[in-house]
Amino acid sequence: MADGSKRVTDVELDDELRSLLDVAPSAEFVPRVRMCIAGRQPGLFLPTWLKTSAVVAGVAALALAIGFGPYDLLPGPTSSESTSVQGDRSVIGRNIPLATPARARAVPPVMPPSQAPRPGRGRPPVASDVARLELLSSVMFSPDVADAYRRLFASVSEAAYEVPEPSITAADDMAMTDIEIAPVEIEPLDPSTVHRGVLQ
Protein backbone atom coordinates (compact mmCIF):
# COMPACT_ATOMS: atom_id res chain seq x y z
CA MET A 1 0.00 0.00 0.00
CA ALA A 2 1.08 3.57 -0.61
CA ASP A 3 0.78 4.57 3.02
CA GLY A 4 2.63 1.52 4.20
CA SER A 5 -0.33 -0.05 6.04
CA LYS A 6 -1.03 -3.74 5.55
CA ARG A 7 -4.12 -4.61 3.52
CA VAL A 8 -5.98 -7.71 4.75
CA THR A 9 -6.58 -10.28 2.05
CA ASP A 10 -9.63 -12.48 1.61
CA VAL A 11 -7.68 -15.58 2.54
CA GLU A 12 -6.39 -14.02 5.74
CA LEU A 13 -9.81 -12.82 6.65
CA ASP A 14 -11.41 -16.21 6.06
CA ASP A 15 -8.67 -17.97 8.01
CA GLU A 16 -9.06 -15.54 10.87
CA LEU A 17 -12.79 -15.99 10.95
CA ARG A 18 -12.53 -19.75 10.66
CA SER A 19 -10.16 -19.92 13.59
CA LEU A 20 -12.45 -17.74 15.68
CA LEU A 21 -15.47 -19.92 14.97
CA ASP A 22 -13.65 -23.22 15.37
CA VAL A 23 -15.43 -24.00 18.59
CA ALA A 24 -17.59 -26.91 19.60
CA PRO A 25 -20.15 -27.38 22.30
CA SER A 26 -19.27 -29.40 25.34
CA ALA A 27 -19.76 -33.14 25.35
CA GLU A 28 -22.69 -32.81 27.69
CA PHE A 29 -24.60 -30.55 25.35
CA VAL A 30 -26.50 -33.14 23.33
CA PRO A 31 -27.40 -35.34 26.33
CA ARG A 32 -28.54 -32.24 28.20
CA VAL A 33 -30.84 -31.21 25.34
CA ARG A 34 -32.21 -34.77 25.19
CA MET A 35 -32.92 -34.68 28.91
CA CYS A 36 -34.63 -31.32 28.64
CA ILE A 37 -36.86 -32.50 25.82
CA ALA A 38 -37.69 -35.79 27.54
CA GLY A 39 -38.44 -33.99 30.81
CA ARG A 40 -40.99 -31.72 29.20
CA GLN A 41 -44.57 -32.87 29.13
CA PRO A 42 -45.75 -33.29 25.58
CA GLY A 43 -48.36 -30.65 24.91
CA LEU A 44 -51.77 -31.31 23.55
CA PHE A 45 -51.26 -31.09 19.83
CA LEU A 46 -54.25 -29.01 18.84
CA PRO A 47 -54.33 -26.73 15.85
CA THR A 48 -54.03 -23.06 16.59
CA TRP A 49 -57.41 -22.26 15.07
CA LEU A 50 -59.05 -24.82 17.35
CA LYS A 51 -57.52 -23.25 20.45
CA THR A 52 -58.59 -19.80 19.27
CA SER A 53 -62.13 -20.99 18.61
CA ALA A 54 -62.36 -22.53 22.06
CA VAL A 55 -61.27 -19.28 23.68
CA VAL A 56 -63.75 -17.25 21.62
CA ALA A 57 -66.58 -19.64 22.46
CA GLY A 58 -65.75 -19.43 26.15
CA VAL A 59 -65.76 -15.65 26.11
CA ALA A 60 -69.03 -15.59 24.17
CA ALA A 61 -70.68 -17.98 26.65
CA LEU A 62 -69.50 -15.85 29.55
CA ALA A 63 -70.84 -12.71 27.87
CA LEU A 64 -74.21 -14.37 27.29
CA ALA A 65 -74.37 -15.57 30.87
CA ILE A 66 -73.71 -12.05 32.11
CA GLY A 67 -75.85 -10.26 29.53
CA PHE A 68 -78.91 -12.49 29.97
CA GLY A 69 -78.65 -13.04 33.66
CA PRO A 70 -81.50 -12.66 36.20
CA TYR A 71 -81.27 -8.86 36.05
CA ASP A 72 -82.37 -8.78 32.44
CA LEU A 73 -85.08 -11.36 32.92
CA LEU A 74 -86.89 -9.10 35.34
CA PRO A 75 -88.56 -5.76 34.71
CA GLY A 76 -86.91 -2.75 36.22
CA PRO A 77 -88.16 -1.36 39.52
CA THR A 78 -90.59 1.53 39.59
CA SER A 79 -89.59 4.86 41.00
CA SER A 80 -90.99 4.09 44.42
CA GLU A 81 -89.49 0.60 44.38
CA SER A 82 -86.13 1.75 43.22
CA THR A 83 -85.82 3.92 46.28
CA SER A 84 -86.36 0.96 48.55
CA VAL A 85 -84.13 -1.23 46.42
CA GLN A 86 -81.25 1.19 46.63
CA GLY A 87 -81.68 1.30 50.37
CA ASP A 88 -80.44 -2.24 50.94
CA ARG A 89 -78.28 -3.57 48.17
CA SER A 90 -76.79 -6.28 50.31
CA VAL A 91 -80.19 -7.88 50.70
CA ILE A 92 -80.80 -7.69 46.98
CA GLY A 93 -77.46 -9.20 46.11
CA ARG A 94 -77.98 -12.01 48.56
CA ASN A 95 -81.39 -12.86 47.13
CA ILE A 96 -80.55 -12.81 43.44
CA PRO A 97 -80.77 -16.39 42.20
CA LEU A 98 -78.19 -17.79 39.84
CA ALA A 99 -78.93 -17.98 36.14
CA THR A 100 -79.21 -21.71 35.87
CA PRO A 101 -80.60 -23.37 32.74
CA ALA A 102 -83.56 -24.74 34.72
CA ARG A 103 -84.45 -21.26 35.96
CA ALA A 104 -84.03 -19.84 32.48
CA ARG A 105 -86.60 -22.37 31.24
CA ALA A 106 -88.96 -21.69 34.11
CA VAL A 107 -88.89 -17.92 33.77
CA PRO A 108 -90.10 -16.60 30.42
CA PRO A 109 -87.84 -14.03 28.83
CA VAL A 110 -88.77 -10.38 28.69
CA MET A 111 -90.04 -9.44 25.24
CA PRO A 112 -90.29 -6.03 23.60
CA PRO A 113 -93.64 -4.22 24.01
CA SER A 114 -94.66 -4.94 20.42
CA GLN A 115 -94.26 -8.68 20.96
CA ALA A 116 -95.40 -8.89 24.54
CA PRO A 117 -98.77 -10.59 25.14
CA ARG A 118 -101.54 -8.09 25.76
CA PRO A 119 -103.60 -8.25 28.94
CA GLY A 120 -106.74 -10.26 28.52
CA ARG A 121 -105.60 -11.84 25.28
CA GLY A 122 -102.68 -13.85 26.53
CA ARG A 123 -102.61 -17.31 27.92
CA PRO A 124 -103.86 -17.94 31.44
CA PRO A 125 -101.29 -17.75 34.23
CA VAL A 126 -99.32 -20.91 34.70
CA ALA A 127 -96.86 -22.17 37.23
CA SER A 128 -93.98 -20.37 35.52
CA ASP A 129 -95.72 -17.06 36.24
CA VAL A 130 -95.80 -17.91 39.91
CA ALA A 131 -92.16 -18.80 39.78
CA ARG A 132 -91.42 -15.56 38.04
CA LEU A 133 -93.35 -13.60 40.61
CA GLU A 134 -91.47 -15.37 43.34
CA LEU A 135 -88.25 -14.48 41.62
CA LEU A 136 -89.43 -10.91 41.30
CA SER A 137 -90.37 -10.74 44.95
CA SER A 138 -87.02 -12.11 45.99
CA VAL A 139 -85.34 -9.28 44.17
CA MET A 140 -87.65 -6.41 44.97
CA PHE A 141 -88.37 -7.02 48.63
CA SER A 142 -86.53 -7.90 51.73
CA PRO A 143 -86.32 -11.56 52.77
CA ASP A 144 -89.12 -11.22 55.34
CA VAL A 145 -91.52 -9.74 52.85
CA ALA A 146 -90.53 -12.29 50.25
CA ASP A 147 -91.22 -15.11 52.71
CA ALA A 148 -94.62 -13.63 53.46
CA TYR A 149 -95.42 -13.55 49.76
CA ARG A 150 -94.23 -17.12 49.35
CA ARG A 151 -96.51 -18.29 52.16
CA LEU A 152 -99.37 -16.37 50.59
CA PHE A 153 -98.78 -17.92 47.18
CA ALA A 154 -98.53 -21.36 48.71
CA SER A 155 -101.77 -20.95 50.64
CA VAL A 156 -103.57 -19.66 47.54
CA SER A 157 -102.35 -22.53 45.41
CA GLU A 158 -103.46 -25.04 48.05
CA ALA A 159 -106.79 -23.19 48.62
CA ALA A 160 -105.94 -23.12 52.29
CA TYR A 161 -107.41 -19.75 53.01
CA GLU A 162 -110.60 -18.82 54.88
CA VAL A 163 -112.90 -15.95 54.08
CA PRO A 164 -114.85 -14.77 57.14
CA GLU A 165 -118.61 -14.35 56.76
CA PRO A 166 -119.31 -10.62 56.53
CA SER A 167 -121.49 -9.26 59.27
CA ILE A 168 -124.56 -7.36 58.12
CA THR A 169 -125.05 -4.03 59.76
CA ALA A 170 -128.10 -1.77 59.80
CA ALA A 171 -126.57 0.52 57.25
CA ASP A 172 -126.01 -2.39 54.86
CA ASP A 173 -129.62 -3.47 55.19
CA MET A 174 -130.96 -0.02 54.27
CA ALA A 175 -132.96 0.18 51.07
CA MET A 176 -131.75 2.45 48.27
CA THR A 177 -135.03 4.34 48.28
CA ASP A 178 -134.41 5.54 51.81
CA ILE A 179 -131.49 7.63 50.75
CA GLU A 180 -132.20 11.10 49.52
CA ILE A 181 -130.08 12.26 46.68
CA ALA A 182 -130.10 15.90 45.79
CA PRO A 183 -130.46 16.68 42.06
CA VAL A 184 -127.28 17.74 40.33
CA GLU A 185 -127.24 20.81 38.17
CA ILE A 186 -124.62 21.02 35.51
CA GLU A 187 -123.72 24.42 34.17
CA PRO A 188 -121.24 25.23 31.44
CA LEU A 189 -118.00 26.72 32.72
CA ASP A 190 -117.89 29.39 30.03
CA PRO A 191 -121.33 30.63 29.04
CA SER A 192 -120.01 32.27 25.86
CA THR A 193 -119.13 28.94 24.28
CA VAL A 194 -122.45 27.22 24.87
CA HIS A 195 -124.22 28.54 21.77
CA ARG A 196 -121.24 28.03 19.49
CA GLY A 197 -120.91 24.34 20.39
CA VAL A 198 -117.24 24.53 21.26
CA LEU A 199 -115.95 21.52 23.05
CA GLN A 200 -114.34 22.27 26.31
Binding site: D3, S5, V8, R18, V33, R34, I37, P42, F45
Partner: protein, 185 residues
Amino acid sequence: MHEYVDRLPDSLTRVADDLDSEFDRLLVESSRLSFRVAYGVLRQRQDAEDVAQEAFIRAHRHFRRLRNRNACRAWIVRLSWRLALDRQRANRRRAHRDDRHARSLPATTTGDPAIANERAAHVWQAIDALPEKLRLTMVLSGIEGHDTREIASLLGVPEGTVKSRLYHARERMKESLQWLMDPKG
Protein backbone atom coordinates in the same frame (compact mmCIF):
# COMPACT_ATOMS: atom_id res chain seq x y z
CA MET B 1 -42.20 -42.23 27.04
CA HIS B 2 -45.23 -40.35 28.18
CA GLU B 3 -48.17 -42.27 29.54
CA TYR B 4 -50.50 -41.04 26.79
CA VAL B 5 -48.18 -42.31 24.12
CA ASP B 6 -48.21 -45.71 25.76
CA ARG B 7 -51.95 -45.92 25.18
CA LEU B 8 -51.67 -45.28 21.49
CA PRO B 9 -51.95 -48.12 19.03
CA ASP B 10 -48.73 -49.66 17.84
CA SER B 11 -48.76 -47.90 14.48
CA LEU B 12 -49.08 -44.46 16.03
CA THR B 13 -46.42 -45.29 18.59
CA ARG B 14 -44.12 -46.29 15.76
CA VAL B 15 -44.80 -42.93 14.09
CA ALA B 16 -43.95 -41.12 17.32
CA ASP B 17 -40.78 -43.16 17.68
CA ASP B 18 -39.82 -42.37 14.11
CA LEU B 19 -40.34 -38.68 14.75
CA ASP B 20 -38.23 -38.84 17.89
CA SER B 21 -35.43 -40.66 16.15
CA GLU B 22 -35.62 -38.22 13.24
CA PHE B 23 -35.35 -35.29 15.59
CA ASP B 24 -32.52 -36.93 17.49
CA ARG B 25 -30.64 -37.33 14.23
CA LEU B 26 -31.22 -33.65 13.50
CA LEU B 27 -30.00 -32.75 16.97
CA VAL B 28 -26.76 -34.66 16.54
CA GLU B 29 -26.13 -33.28 13.07
CA SER B 30 -26.99 -29.66 13.77
CA SER B 31 -25.95 -29.13 17.36
CA ARG B 32 -22.48 -27.92 16.43
CA LEU B 33 -23.83 -25.61 13.73
CA SER B 34 -26.41 -24.10 16.05
CA PHE B 35 -23.84 -23.65 18.77
CA ARG B 36 -21.39 -21.93 16.43
CA VAL B 37 -24.02 -19.58 15.07
CA ALA B 38 -24.90 -18.55 18.61
CA TYR B 39 -21.24 -18.30 19.51
CA GLY B 40 -20.68 -15.99 16.54
CA VAL B 41 -22.98 -13.51 18.23
CA LEU B 42 -22.37 -14.05 21.92
CA ARG B 43 -18.77 -15.30 22.07
CA GLN B 44 -19.59 -17.01 25.34
CA ARG B 45 -19.62 -20.77 25.43
CA GLN B 46 -22.18 -21.10 28.16
CA ASP B 47 -24.50 -18.51 26.67
CA ALA B 48 -24.14 -20.09 23.24
CA GLU B 49 -25.02 -23.52 24.62
CA ASP B 50 -28.06 -22.12 26.39
CA VAL B 51 -29.24 -20.46 23.21
CA ALA B 52 -28.68 -23.57 21.10
CA GLN B 53 -30.53 -25.65 23.68
CA GLU B 54 -33.47 -23.28 23.62
CA ALA B 55 -33.50 -23.41 19.83
CA PHE B 56 -33.68 -27.20 19.83
CA ILE B 57 -36.40 -27.25 22.46
CA ARG B 58 -38.50 -24.89 20.36
CA ALA B 59 -37.75 -26.91 17.27
CA HIS B 60 -38.90 -30.09 18.98
CA ARG B 61 -42.11 -28.39 20.02
CA HIS B 62 -42.96 -27.59 16.40
CA PHE B 63 -41.25 -30.53 14.76
CA ARG B 64 -44.40 -32.62 14.33
CA ARG B 65 -46.13 -29.84 12.47
CA LEU B 66 -43.34 -29.05 10.08
CA ARG B 67 -44.31 -29.79 6.51
CA ASN B 68 -40.80 -29.74 5.15
CA ARG B 69 -38.47 -31.30 7.67
CA ASN B 70 -35.54 -30.92 5.33
CA ALA B 71 -35.74 -27.20 5.99
CA CYS B 72 -35.54 -27.73 9.73
CA ARG B 73 -31.77 -27.33 9.75
CA ALA B 74 -32.09 -23.91 8.15
CA TRP B 75 -34.89 -23.05 10.56
CA ILE B 76 -32.71 -23.94 13.54
CA VAL B 77 -29.89 -21.79 12.22
CA ARG B 78 -32.12 -18.75 11.88
CA LEU B 79 -33.77 -19.42 15.23
CA SER B 80 -30.39 -19.72 16.94
CA TRP B 81 -29.31 -16.46 15.36
CA ARG B 82 -32.42 -14.66 16.54
CA LEU B 83 -32.23 -16.05 20.06
CA ALA B 84 -28.56 -15.16 20.27
CA LEU B 85 -29.29 -11.59 19.24
CA ASP B 86 -32.00 -11.39 21.90
CA ARG B 87 -29.62 -12.79 24.50
CA GLN B 88 -26.95 -10.30 23.45
CA ARG B 89 -29.32 -7.39 23.85
CA ALA B 90 -30.43 -8.67 27.24
CA ASN B 91 -26.81 -9.07 28.35
CA ARG B 92 -26.02 -5.54 27.30
CA ARG B 93 -29.02 -4.16 29.09
CA ARG B 94 -28.09 -6.06 32.22
CA ALA B 95 -24.50 -4.88 32.02
CA HIS B 96 -25.72 -1.35 31.50
CA ARG B 97 -27.87 -1.59 34.58
CA ASP B 98 -25.23 -3.24 36.73
CA ASP B 99 -22.44 -0.91 35.93
CA ARG B 100 -22.61 2.23 33.89
CA HIS B 101 -18.93 1.95 33.17
CA ALA B 102 -19.51 -1.28 31.32
CA ARG B 103 -20.86 0.70 28.40
CA SER B 104 -17.39 1.74 27.39
CA LEU B 105 -16.13 -1.83 27.49
CA PRO B 106 -16.82 -4.30 24.68
CA ALA B 107 -19.29 -6.91 25.84
CA THR B 108 -17.20 -9.72 24.43
CA THR B 109 -14.04 -9.19 26.42
CA THR B 110 -15.07 -11.24 29.40
CA GLY B 111 -12.14 -13.56 29.59
CA ASP B 112 -12.91 -16.15 26.93
CA PRO B 113 -9.60 -17.66 25.75
CA ALA B 114 -10.71 -17.63 22.11
CA ILE B 115 -10.70 -13.84 22.00
CA ALA B 116 -7.89 -13.25 24.37
CA ASN B 117 -5.58 -11.78 21.79
CA GLU B 118 -6.00 -8.35 20.44
CA ARG B 119 -6.21 -9.38 16.81
CA ALA B 120 -9.20 -11.58 17.46
CA ALA B 121 -10.86 -8.77 19.33
CA HIS B 122 -10.41 -6.53 16.31
CA VAL B 123 -11.96 -9.11 14.02
CA TRP B 124 -14.94 -9.50 16.29
CA GLN B 125 -15.39 -5.76 16.41
CA ALA B 126 -15.34 -5.65 12.64
CA ILE B 127 -17.98 -8.37 12.50
CA ASP B 128 -20.14 -6.55 15.01
CA ALA B 129 -20.01 -3.43 12.88
CA LEU B 130 -21.61 -5.24 9.93
CA PRO B 131 -25.32 -5.00 9.18
CA GLU B 132 -27.25 -8.00 10.37
CA LYS B 133 -27.71 -9.71 7.01
CA LEU B 134 -24.06 -9.37 6.10
CA ARG B 135 -23.08 -10.43 9.58
CA LEU B 136 -24.99 -13.70 9.54
CA THR B 137 -23.72 -14.52 6.07
CA MET B 138 -20.17 -13.83 7.16
CA VAL B 139 -20.47 -15.95 10.27
CA LEU B 140 -21.92 -18.85 8.31
CA SER B 141 -19.09 -18.58 5.80
CA GLY B 142 -16.61 -18.68 8.64
CA ILE B 143 -18.03 -21.95 9.91
CA GLU B 144 -16.03 -24.70 8.29
CA GLY B 145 -17.69 -26.68 5.56
CA HIS B 146 -20.20 -24.11 4.42
CA ASP B 147 -19.86 -22.90 0.86
CA THR B 148 -22.06 -20.31 -0.80
CA ARG B 149 -24.58 -22.88 -1.97
CA GLU B 150 -25.14 -24.28 1.49
CA ILE B 151 -25.31 -20.80 2.99
CA ALA B 152 -27.92 -19.93 0.39
CA SER B 153 -30.00 -22.94 1.37
CA LEU B 154 -29.67 -22.14 5.06
CA LEU B 155 -30.70 -18.54 4.58
CA GLY B 156 -33.34 -19.25 1.95
CA VAL B 157 -31.86 -16.78 -0.53
CA PRO B 158 -30.33 -17.21 -3.99
CA GLU B 159 -26.67 -18.11 -4.24
CA GLY B 160 -25.91 -14.84 -6.02
CA THR B 161 -27.26 -12.93 -3.08
CA VAL B 162 -24.91 -14.81 -0.77
CA LYS B 163 -21.95 -14.00 -2.99
CA SER B 164 -22.91 -10.35 -3.08
CA ARG B 165 -23.32 -10.20 0.67
CA LEU B 166 -20.00 -11.92 1.24
CA TYR B 167 -18.26 -9.48 -1.07
CA HIS B 168 -19.68 -6.42 0.69
CA ALA B 169 -19.05 -7.90 4.12
CA ARG B 170 -15.43 -8.65 3.31
CA GLU B 171 -14.86 -5.19 1.91
CA ARG B 172 -16.24 -3.56 5.03
CA MET B 173 -14.26 -5.81 7.30
CA LYS B 174 -11.06 -5.13 5.38
CA GLU B 175 -11.59 -1.43 5.83
CA SER B 176 -12.27 -1.83 9.52
CA LEU B 177 -9.33 -4.10 10.10
CA GLN B 178 -7.02 -1.90 8.05
CA TRP B 179 -7.90 1.06 10.24
CA LEU B 180 -7.53 -1.00 13.36
CA MET B 181 -4.27 -2.65 12.33
CA ASP B 182 -2.72 0.42 10.82
CA PRO B 183 0.34 1.23 12.92
CA LYS B 184 -0.26 4.91 12.26
CA GLY B 185 -3.87 4.66 13.35
